[in-house]
């Protein structure tokens, strides 16, 4: 399946990439998507996750065509 992965803010800068187009065999959790997209980088403790622009857990299942995003704590307002 195909998954679009996005990184934002400090995380984007640290990883040196804003987005990755992943091709995954079978099913995957958000955590597995992270490992695949970053080449096994350690997951920051306070990272936030969304699937298709809705907040999600690391254990959530990702489906074909999903947009998965990883980002630091938000600081708007």
């Amino acid at each position: 399946m195909q998954v679009k992965v996005l990184f934002f803010a400090g995380l984007r800068e640290r990883l040196g990439k804003a987005d990755v187009a992943l091709e995954l065999p079978g099913t995957a959790t958000v955590l597995e998507v992270w490992q695949q997209a970053t080449g096994g980088e350690t997951l920051p403790a306070n990272v936030l996750v969304s699937i298709n622009q809705v907040y999600a857990e690391l254990s959530a299942s990702v489906a074909d065509g999903d947009e998965v995003a990883f980002f630091p704590p938000v600081t708007g307002g």
């Binding site: 996005l6 934002f8 803010a9 995003a69 630091p72 704590p73 938000v74 600081t75 708007g76 307002g77």
Partner: protein
């Protein structure tokens, strides 16, 4: 009527509210308006700050703001609501965020306005990067408690 908006250029929140209420042509359902405006300060954590860049997640940010606003309208039976948030490059003294709510009752107006701000701060995907007076920049790690 209720409206959420991201802006790439600076805005005067009071001018915007003057226009918004003028467009309502003297609606007299509501009795209470509560407003919050967040303004960029020229210091943070003890350091002089000369500028700020506000990154966001296009698409998700708009969805989150809309949901936060609609949830508040339902929960507090608001007559109307308005959220405007800057993105991109911001200078000290410029407005970052405007939240305005209209209600028949002042308790609901106060509570809803504050709730929208707290929820926005916790959930809306924005990230601030500050530029310091020596030209260096840093990501703001977390928002202050409400």
């Amino acid at each position: 009527m209720a409206h959420c908006e991201l802006r790439e250029t600076s805005f005067d929140p009071w001018q915007l509210l003057a226009e918004w209420t003028a467009a309502q042509q003297g609606a007299s359902r509501y009795g209470a308006t509560a407003v919050f405006v967040g303004t960029m300060r020229d210091f943070n954590e003890g350091d002089a700050v000369t500028g700020m860049y506000l990154e966001h997640y296009p698409g998700m940010t708009e969805r989150q703001l809309e949901q936060i606003m609609q949830d508040a309208i339902r929960e507090w039976h608001l007559d109307d609501a308005l959220i405007v948030h800057r993105v991109g490059e911001i200078l000290p003294a410029e407005s970052i965020v405007l939240v305005a709510v209209w209600s028949a009752h002042r308790a609901e107006a106060f509570t809803a306005c504050r709730h929208i701000m707290e929820t926005l701060k916790h959930n809306a995907p924005f990230w601030k990067r500050e530029t310091l007076i020596d030209g260096s920049s840093r990501w703001v790690e977390r928002n202050t408690a409400g």
